[in-house]
Amino acid sequence: MPGKLKVKIVAGRHLPVMDRASDLTDAFVEVKFGNTTFKTDVYLKSLNPQWNSEWFKFEVDDEDLQDEPLQITVLDHDTYSANDAIGKVYIDIDPLLYSEAATVISGWFPIYDTIHGIRGEINVVVKVDLFNDLNRFRQSSCGVKFFCTTSIPKCYRAVIIHGFVEELVVNEDPEYQWIDRIRTPRASNEARQRLISLMSGELQRKIGLKVLEMRGNAVVGYLQCFDLEGESGLVVRAIGTACTLDKLSSPAAFLPACNSPSKEMKEIPFNEDPNPNTHSSGPSTPLKNQTYSFSPSKSYSRQSSSSDTDLSLTPKTGMGSGSAGKEGGPFKALLRQQTQSALEQRGGSPHRFCRRREFPFFTLTAFPPGFLVHVGGVVSARSVKLLDRIHNPAFVGIMGNTRSYKLLDWNSFNSDEPETRDAWWAEIRQEIKSHAKALGCHAVVGYSESTSICEEVCILSASGTAAVLNPRFLQDGTVEGCLEQRLDENLPTCCGFCHIPYDELNMPFPAHLTYCYNCRKQKVPDVLFTTIDLPTDATVIGKGCLIQARLCRLKKKAQAEANATAISNLLPFMEYEVHTQLMNKLKLKGMNALFGLRIQITVGENMLMGLASATGVYLAALPTPGGIQIAGKTPNDGSYEQHISHMQKKINDTIAKNKELYEINPPEISEEIIGSPIPEPRQRSRLLRSQSESSDEVTELDLSHGKKDAFVLEIDDTDAMEDVHSLLTDVPPPSGFYSCNTEIMPGINNWTSEIQMFTSVRVIRLSSLNLTNQALNKNFNDLCENLLKSLYFKLRSMIPCCLCHVNFTVSLPEDELIQVTVTAVAITFDKNQALQTTKTHVEKSLQRASTDNEELLQFPLELCSDSLPSHPFPPAKEHLESASSNSGIPAAQRATSVDYSSFADRCSSWIELIKLKAQTIRRGSIKTTVTVEKASPMAEGNFRSRSAPPCANSTVGVVKMTPLSFIPGAKITKYLGIINMFFIRETTSLREEGGVSGFLHAFIAEVFAIVRAHVAALGGNAVVSYIMKQCVFMENPNKNQAQCLINVSGDAVVFVRESDLEVVSTQQPTATCQPSCTGEVTT
C-alpha cells in the first residue's frame, strides 16, 4: 500500500444548463480511481456549484498510481431518470510521483465531453502521500522523470547518458469492439480515451522500469505514439533516451541563456574532448545511406515480401584521395573501439547488455558540447507490413468487462502479439544500426520512429543520424568523478562534427571530399544531411531556411499482399526523388547542410505522399556548393538551347538572390560565388588566423576538391522540366520572416520574448478526374506553399520574426483528400541586430512599425533611445545599477519606459479600474516591471513588456506553449512533469457547429485550453517541447457527422523571466552574450 491519493472537489463554474425548465443544473461529481468511486453531494439549482467536498482518499499501489488516471465525472442529478453526464476530467497523477516536480495539482479544469466539447470548469485539488517502497521486485517505476524535450533539460546536468529505451503495448481498440449502435458514441469515445490513458500510463511505467534497471533516473526525448491499426487493434509505443540527470541547484549555475538557450549547455561539465587528435579521419561521403527493406520475414505469412534493395543515391564519381585520411585512420579506429566498448559496457545483466548493444540509439537532437564527435549522415529504413487482426482468446472475455482493462497483462497472458510489433521494430532498428556501421559510426542520434497506416497496410519508418560519440558520456558512474575534474580541458573545435567518420579509402559511397574549410586538417563531405539540431558550436555563415521536398505518386488500388508489394516497389523511387529535390533546393539556396531532416512517407488508398522538411544552412567548414547546371538532351535545336540557357540564367539568378537573402557571404577563396559581397572584417581575420594556424598544411591542400563539378540536371523529358519549374516556384518568405524546422534559427540569436505557437490544418479535395502524378504534385506543392503563405500573412504583425520548429504532417484520410497539419512557433527577434546586417529589413519593419497597430508603438522608441546597433546592449554597469534599485534608472531609459507605461496604462487602465471594483486581485506593478526590463542588458526585454503588463492583471494565468525546448528571454526553473493527452471529439451536428472547419477549430482551441489548464494546475506557466503527434480527422458530411482524435504531449515547466531574476552576476551574462550575439550573425 505505498500511496495515498487525496482528492477534493471544490467548485464548478459556467456549467451548462441541464434542466430546461429551470435553466439550471443540479450537479454532483463522481471521483474514480481504479475501481473505487466517491461521490459529492448534489448541489441543487446552480450553474456555479460550491461542493467544497471532504478529502476523498484512495489507498493504492504506486503501480496503479502510474497507470491509472484520476477520473472526475460531473453529472446532473435526475430524480426520475438516469443522471445525465455533463463531462469528464482526466488527471494524470504522474507529476506528483517524483519529488522535484509538482507537489499538488490544484486549479480549474475544463469539463470535457466528447460530444459537446468543453462544458464549464471544475476546481479540483489533488495530493499524493507516497510511502517508501521497500519491495525489490517492484513493478512500479515511480521517481523516473520523463521529458519530451530532446536535449538535456535546462536545469539539469547529464551525468550519464545511458541510451535507448523502447516499449510497446497492444490492445484491442474499443471502437472496434462493440458493434455499431449497441453503444453510444459517447460511451465508445470515453472507453477509448480511458484505455489509451491507461495504456500510456502502463507504457511509461514499463519504460521507467527499464531505466531503473539501467541505473538511470530519467528519460529524455520521450516520444510516445499511437498506432490506430483499426480492426487489428491499438498499439501504443514509445522510445526515449535513458539518462542519469543531476539537478543543478544553484541558480547561478546556469547563465541567462542569451536568447540562444543551448548555450547554457556549456555549463554542463562535459565539454572535454578526450582525444583531440582523433578528429582526423578518413575521407567522407556526404550521402545519406538509405536502404529499403521490405521485410521478407518468414515467420509471418501475410507480410509482403520483396527483396532488400540497397540504393546509392549519388551518381558515381571518382573517389577522392587524400593523405590525411591514412594518418587519421588508426586514431579513428581507436575512437571507434572506445565508443563500441562504452556502448557495450553499460548495464549489468547480460540480457541488458544485449539489448543495448543492439541499439545504440539516442532520441536526442541536441547534445552537451563535446558529446558529438563526428556525424556521418542520415540513416533511414522503412518497411511495409500487413496488419493482421490481433487474435487473442483471453482477450475478448476481458474486454467484456468494461470496468478494468488493466487485467490485460501482456507478459503473462499473451506475449505473442506485442512481440510481433516488437520484432518488426527490432528488424528496422537492426537495419538502421547496420547503416550507421557502414558509415563508420557506432551510434545513431536524432533517432525517431513513425508509422503510416492505410487499411491493412502499415509503413514503419525509422531514421536518425549516424554519429560517432564521445565514449566518456556513455560510461558508468565510476568515471563520473574524473569527468568533472577535467572539466576545462580543451573544447572540441567547431568543425569536428563535420569531419567524416568513415575511412576515406574504404568509403561506403563515392563522394566528393575536401579538406575542412575551417581547420584545413580533416576531410569533410561536400554536403551534410542530419536529423539533429545544429550543434551550438558549429560555425554557420548567414541564416538558415526551411527546405521542403514534396512528392506524390499514384498507386493502383490493391488488396493485401499486392498492395504491400506495390508500395514497396514505389518507395525507393520516392526516396530517391525526395532526396534529389532536397539536394536541388539546397543548392538553389546556396547552402551546404541540412539539419532536422524529417522525411515522412504517407500511404493512402491510391497514392503515396512524401514530404521532407529540413533546415538548410551554410556550414563554414564545408565547401561552397556548386551551382546547378542544366543540360539538355537534344542540343541541336536552337530554340531549345535558348530555352535551356534562359532557365540556366534563372537558376543562377535565384542562387545569387538567395545568397543575398540569407546573407551567405563565405570568406571564399574559390571562384564560385556569384556576386559575393566583401566578407566581413571579422570573418576575414578569422580566415587568416585559421590559415596561419595550419600554414604547414596549406601546401597539402588540394583545392581542386573545392571546385567540384556543378550539380548537373539533365532535362530529357517534360518530367524533368516540371521538376526544374517546381524548383523555381518556391517563394521565399516575405521580408522580415524566416522559417526553420529546427529549435533555433541558425544566424539569429537575439530572440525577444513574444512567442505565438499555432496549429494550422488544411484539407483539400482532389478532383478525381484524370489525376496524374504531375497534377498531384502541383496540388500538393500548392497546398504546402499556400499554407506557408497564409502563415506569413497571419503573423505579419510579429515581423521581424522567425517560424521555428515548423512541423508538417501529411495524412490521406480518404481517397481524394489530402490533410496537412502544421504546428510551429513564431518568435520575434530584435531587429537592432538585423540593422547590422540587412538594412532593408529594418527599414521596412520600421515603416510597418509606425503604421501598424498600437502594439508596435515601441519600435521607434527603442531604435532612437537604445544604444547603437554596434552595441546592442547597454553596458553592464547600467544594468546593475538599474536592476538593483527600482528607481535608479538611467535618464535616457527612464524616458522611454515612461512613454511605454503611459501607453500601457492607456490601453488597460479602465479595465483595471473595473476589476479593482470587482475585487479581483491584480498582481505586480506594471511600471516596475517595465523599467527593470528596459534596463536589462538584453534588448529582448523590451519586447516582452508588450505582453507582460496586460498579463499582469489577467484573471486567468497565461500559459505559454511552444514546440521548442526553451522560452526565449526566460529561464526554466522547474520541470513539473510530462503532459500526454489523448482526446476524441465527435459531432452529429456538423453543419450547426460551423462545418468541418468550425468543428476542428473549436476542438483544437479546446485541446490547447485543456493543456493550459492542466499545466496551470500543476503550478506551471508554460509547456515546452509541445507536439501534436496525431490529428486524425474523419468526416461524413452526408450524415452530418465528424470525428477527430488528437494526441498531444509536452513538458510542463515553470519559467522565470530573465529580467525578473535577481541579477547574480552582471559580468557573466554580458561576457557570454556579446560574442554569441554580435559574433554569430556574421560568422
Partner: protein, 364 residues
C-alpha cells in the same frame, strides 16, 4: 483542388482589428474580403486573394465563437478556451458594445421589444447599416437593459460591472437604458436635429437629479426604494412639480418674476426686447412642462415639449446661446427672490436639470 477545411488556431488568439470591425459591421465573408482587397492590403503584404479569404474566414470563425462570450463579458475574462491578452479582451468588448450614432437615434426611447426588432429591416435600409449589425446593436441594448433593469445601485456602475465597458460607453448605455425605460419620444421630426450625445447628456442630468437614486435617501431605508433607483423618475417629485404651476397661474407672481429677470438682464442681453415680449410665454411653457409630468404620456413627450415651448421660440428670434444661458440663469435664480413662492428646493431640483438640458438642446 478544392479546400475542404482550413483553420489556424494560435495559443494566443489572434485578433485582427480591421477584420473585427468588418465583422461587427455585419459584412459577409466575401464582402469583407472585397473590402480588404480594396484597402490595398494585398499590395502591402504581397499576399494573394486566397490567403486573404482564408484569413478572413478564420477570423470570422473566431469571432463567431467569441460572440457567445461577449454576451456576458465577465465570462470572456474567466473562460479558458481563448487565451487573449487583457488589452485585447477590452478591445473586443468595447468594440462589440459600440454602436452607430445613426442607429441609436432610431431606437432611442423605443421599447426594446420584439416589435421594435421587427422594424430593424426598415432602420437598416434607412441608415444603410447592415441588418446584422443593427441586430447586434439592438440585442446589445436589450441585453444590457435586461441585466440592469432589476438591479439596485448606480446604473453606470452596474453596467460597468456586468459588461466591463469603459466609463464613456457605460454612460452611453445608461442613457439608452434610461430612455428605453421611460420611453422618451426622440423620433419626431422636430427632434431630428438633436444628436445622441444631446440626449445622453440630458439623460445623465436626469438620472443624477430626477430619479429615486438621486435623492440619496436609500441608506436610511434600503428596502423601501430599492427598485430601479436609477432608471425610474422619482414619482413623488413629479407629483410635487404640480406646485410650480403657481408661478404662471398667479399673475402677480408672474409679473414680479418677469420684472426681476428684466431688471437684472437689462443691457446685458442682445435680444432683450424679444425676451421681454416672450417672457410670459416662455415661462408658461417651462412651468407647464413641469406640471404635466405626472402623466406618463407627457413624460414621453418631454423633449418634444421643451423644443416646442422653448427652443423653437428662442431660435426663431435668433437668440445667441450666451443670451439663452444668461436668461435661464437669471430666470431660475430670480425665483428665490419671490417671497410668495414656497417651493424653492423643488424649483431648483427641476430647473437645475432643465437648464442644463435646454442649453444642450439649444443649437441648430
Amino acid at each position: 483542388m478544392t479546400s475542404e477545411l482550413d483553420i489556424f488556431v494560435g495559443n494566443t488568439t489572434l485578433i485582427d482589428e480591421d477584420v473585427y470591425r468588418l465583422w461587427l459591421d455585419g459584412y459577409s465573408v466575401s464582402d469583407a474580403v472585397a473590402l480588404r482587397v480594396r484597402s490595398g492590403i494585398l499590395e502591402q503584404t504581397g499576399a494573394t486573394a486566397a490567403v486573404l479569404q482564408s484569413d478572413t474566414m478564420d477570423h470570422y470563425r473566431t469571432f463567431n465563437m467569441l460572440e457567445r462570450l461577449l454576451h456576458a463579458p465577465p465570462k470572456l475574462l474567466h473562460q479558458l478556451i481563448f487565451q487573449i491578452p487583457p488589452s485585447r479582451q477590452a478591445l473586443l468588448i468595447e468594440r462589440y458594445y459600440a454602436f452607430d450614432e445613426a442607429f441609436v437615434r432610431e431606437v432611442l426611447g423605443k421599447k426594446l421589444s420584439k416589435g421594435t426588432k421587427k422594424d430593424l429591416d426598415d432602420i437598416s435600409t434607412k441608415t444603410s447599416i447592415t441588418l446584422k449589425s443593427c441586430r447586434r446593436q439592438f440585442d446589445n441594448f436589450k441585453r444590457v437593459f435586461k441585466v440592469v433593469e432589476e438591479m439596485r445601485g448606480s446604473l453606470v456602475d452596474n453596467i460597468q460591472q456586468h459588461f466591463l465597458l469603459s466609463d464613456r460607453l457605460a454612460r452611453d448605455y445608461a442613457a439608452i437604458v434610461f430612455f428605453a425605460n421611460n420611453r422618451f419620444e426622440t423620433g419626431k421630426k422636430k427632434l431630428q436635429y438633436l444628436s445622441f450625445g444631446d440626449f445622453a447628456f440630458c439623460a445623465e442630468l436626469m438620472i443624477q437629479n430626477w430619479t429615486l437614486g438621486a435623492v440619496g435617501e436609500a441608506p436610511t431605508d434600503p428596502d423601501s426604494h430599492v427598485d430601479d433607483m436609477d432608471m425610474d423618475l422619482d414619482k413623488e417629485f413629479l407629483q410635487d412639480l404640480k406646485e410650480l404651476k403657481v408661478l404662471v397661474a398667479d399673475k402677480d407672481l408672474l409679473d414680479l418674476h418677469k420684472s426681476l429677470v428684466c431688471t437684472a438682464l437689462r443691457g446685458k442681453l442682445g435680444v432683450f426686447s424679444e425676451m421681454e415680449t416672450n417672457f410670459k410665454n416662455l415661462s408658461r411653457g417651462l412651468v407647464n412642462v413641469a406640471a404635466k409630468l405626472t402623466h406618463n404620456k407627457d413624460v414621453r413627450d418631454l423633449f418634444v415639449d421643451l423644443v416646442e415651448k422653448f427652443v423653437e421660440p428662442c431660435r426663431s428670434d435668433h437668440w445667441p446661446l450666451n443670451d439663452v444661458r444668461l436668461f435661464l440663469n437669471q430666470y431660475s435664480a430670480s425665483v428665490h427672490s419671490l417671497d410668495g413662492f414656497r417651493h424653492q428646493a423643488l424649483w431648483d431640483r427641476y430647473m437645475g436639470t432643465l437648464r442644463g438640458c435646454l442649453l444642450r438642446l439649444y443649437h441648430d
